[in-house]
């Protein structure tokens, strides 16, 4: 097990390096620069600004410099917000996105697992069809439709929540629901499928022959195997939650990293883009490793290899 973890960890380092390199060259080779939009400044001033940030040096030299900085954990300055470093911006914005992501994940897990469990126990009844149809709806209505709809219904018409902002605890509700809905739906379907497959196995019949109640069968026997597909999904789910937050943060005015990332890309804020990409990628890779380790641990056959 320990060897598995170290091996995976060592694998991620070249991966992150490749990501950094690809991102770097993609950005520099793309048309447009960070100061093109500033129509007020003269070409000389622009040249001096570029020199200030080292943008006039040969490309490969800039690449090496950046790599060196990255190894020291220095993500560089931001062009759009002069005076602030990327590290600072991420330190401010990422916890917001993280909180939103967690809350959305909680929504997804609670609703999704509950729906999946009920549906699997009462297969082909109303308890199955209704939650699964709702799940289908959750999959088919995109976040940027659901968001405005929820705002319209609960914030504007019913006035239960604010339409935007991230100041009070109750500001978390609508964004978390919007972001979590798709994943709740996906998890519900996965959980139902996984549980059904387990519930059809012989050892469940053995448990029933022992006189076990339905609750015991579900929680002690079925769940352990049944949620494996849900856990497998968590890796890509978190990746999706992070990226999905771009839209949700825009709609609800949440000051998270996602919004900064997209604007930075538009503004050719090179260091900001690199910083965000590496941060996200690193986070997702780490989480996937955790999920894979968890999966191996949960399957007794694999645990002792």
């Amino acid at each position: 097990m320990f060897r598995y973890i170290t091996r995976r960890f060592l694998e991620t380092i070249p991966v992150l390096w490749i990501i950094a390199t690809v991102t770097f060259f993609m950005m520099r080779l793309a048309p447009g620069g960070p100061f093109d939009a500033e129509k007020q400044i003269s070409p000389e001033v622009r040249a001096r600004m570029e020199a200030h940030y080292g943008l006039d040096k040969p490309l490969f030299e800039q690449y090496l410099t950046q790599m060196k900085h990255l190894l020291h954990g220095d993500l560089g300055p931001s062009f759009k917000y002069p005076g602030r470093t990327v590290n600072e911006i991420i330190a401010d914005a990422f916890p917001v996105s993280l909180e939103l992501g967690f809350e959305a994940l909680a929504v997804a897990l609670v609703f999704g697992l509950a729906a999946g469990m009920v549906a699997s126990l009462k297969q082909n009844s109303a308890w199955d069809h209704v939650p699964m149809s709702l799940a289908m709806a959750g999959l088919c209505v995109p976040t940027f439709v659901m968001g405005p709809l929820l705002i319209s219904a609960f914030a504007l018409h019913l006035d239960w929540f604010n339409a935007a902002g991230w100041y009070f605890p109750r500001d978390r509700v609508l964004p978390a629901l919007t972001l979590g809905a798709y994943y709740a739906a996906y998890i519900a379907r996965l959980a139902r499928g996984g549980l059904l497959e387990i519930l059809n196995q012989d050892f469940i019949r053995t448990a029933r022959a022992k006189g076990a109640s339905m609750r015991r069968i579900l929680f002690k026997h079925a769940l352990r195997g049944g949620i494996l597909p849900v856990i497998s999904f968590l890796g890509p789910a978190v990746a999706g939650l992070l990226t999905g937050s771009f839209v949700v943060e825009t709609i609800f005015g949440v000051p998270g990293l996602g919004r900064y990332f997209v604007t930075a890309a538009f503004n050719r804020d090179y260091f900001m883009v690199m910083g965000s990409v590496l941060f996200y990628a690193g986070f997702v890779v780490a989480l996937n490793l955790a999920v894979d380790v968890l999966l191996v641990w949960m399957n007794p056959k694999l645990r002792f290899e």
Partner: protein, 297 residues
């Protein structure tokens, strides 16, 4: 002994595909999905004709004097702030969205099937290497790269197809590889081998038909994901560019004026949700019908 030959009726065997079609036909939701998708596809691809002869407006025909109006007799679904007819834009947008969906799915299918088939068929070290690559790639937030690609390299619709398709191929590769390996191991392949059939014959007559099932299912399920991704990009301003429109663009425009002109968000939203619903139901139905593992009665 009693002669019972007259009692037994000769049973007509059904081929795998006939059996699957029969099962699909019984699944009302899936057939509903198929019907809706077909109708939508026909309407969308015939949209130029429909726009010209039935509706009377084109998707980019502005009427600034008119401005945004609610649905009425002239404009059946209303107009947007530039006076453009919503129904026309919806149909045209559908064409674009469905096309993106189809093309990107074809891209991901091609890459995924070739990759997965090679890995599965050759097996061994190559397979291990290829699958590790897939595992690593799977972990990356591809969407971020697509965003970067679209931001930096401009709004080329071909690039859009390729970029979106490139996000989805991983799952297809995994499935195809799994299926190839499973089929390879099955006894009937050994039996064919024992009968002396040549390798190519084995591949085409035996393995490929078994691949078609999962490929069809996951292709059908990829299309809605692709459409969602495209509309996500459009919402960020990265997807389809004006004057073209897709459902994503329409939804974005509708969301901006949601309070004043709700129909501009509602109709595109419903249309897209309906399409995605239908594709998902169809995909589920196909999965149940074609997946032999699933049928247990």
């Amino acid at each position: 002994m009693i002669d019972t030959s007259s009692m037994a009726k000769t049973e007509r065997g059904a081929s795998f595909w006939q059996d699957a079609w029969h099962r699909l036909w019984k699944n009302k939701l899936a057939i509903f999905g198929l019907a809706v998708v077909t109708i939508l596809a026909v309407l969308s691809f015939a949209s130029p004709l429909i726009c010209r002869y039935i509706i009377g407006f084109s998707y980019d025909q502005q009427n600034l004097a008119l401005g945004p109006v609610a649905p009425n007799h002239t404009h059946w679904l209303g107009t947007d702030p530039l006076g453009r007819d919503l129904l026309a834009r919806l149909l045209y947008g559908g064409r674009v969205s469905l096309m993106v969906g189809l093309c990107a799915t074809v891209v991901s299918l091609t890459i995924g099937v070739i990759y997965g088939a090679i890995a599965g068929f050759i097996g061994g070290k190559l397979d291990m290497f290829m699958m590790r690559a897939v595992d690593i790639l799977y972990a990356l937030p591809f969407t971020i790269f697509v965003i970067l690609l679209m931001v930096f390299f401009g709004q080329n619709i071909i690039l859009l197809f390729v970029a979106i398709g490139a996000v989805q191929w991983l799952t297809m590769a995994r499935i195809v590889r799994g299926q190839v390996m499973a089929v390879k191991r099955q006894e009937f392949v050994e039996a064919a081998h024992a009968l002396g059939l040549r390798r190519t014959r084995i591949i085409f007559r035996h393995i490929v038909p078994n691949l078609l099932g999962p490929i069809i299912v996951y292709a059908t399920l990829t299309v809605p994901e692709v459409i969602l991704l495209e509309s996500f990009l459009s919402f960020l301003g990265l997807g389809v560019q004006p004057p073209h429109s897709s459902w994503g663009v329409l939804i974005k425009e509708g969301a901006e004026v949601m309070e004043e002109y709700p129909w501009l968000l509602m109709y595109p939203g419903v249309m897209m949700a309906l399409t995605l619903f239908s594709l998902n139901f169809l995909g589920d139905g196909l999965r149940d019908a074609l997946d032999v593992r699933g049928s247990k009665d």
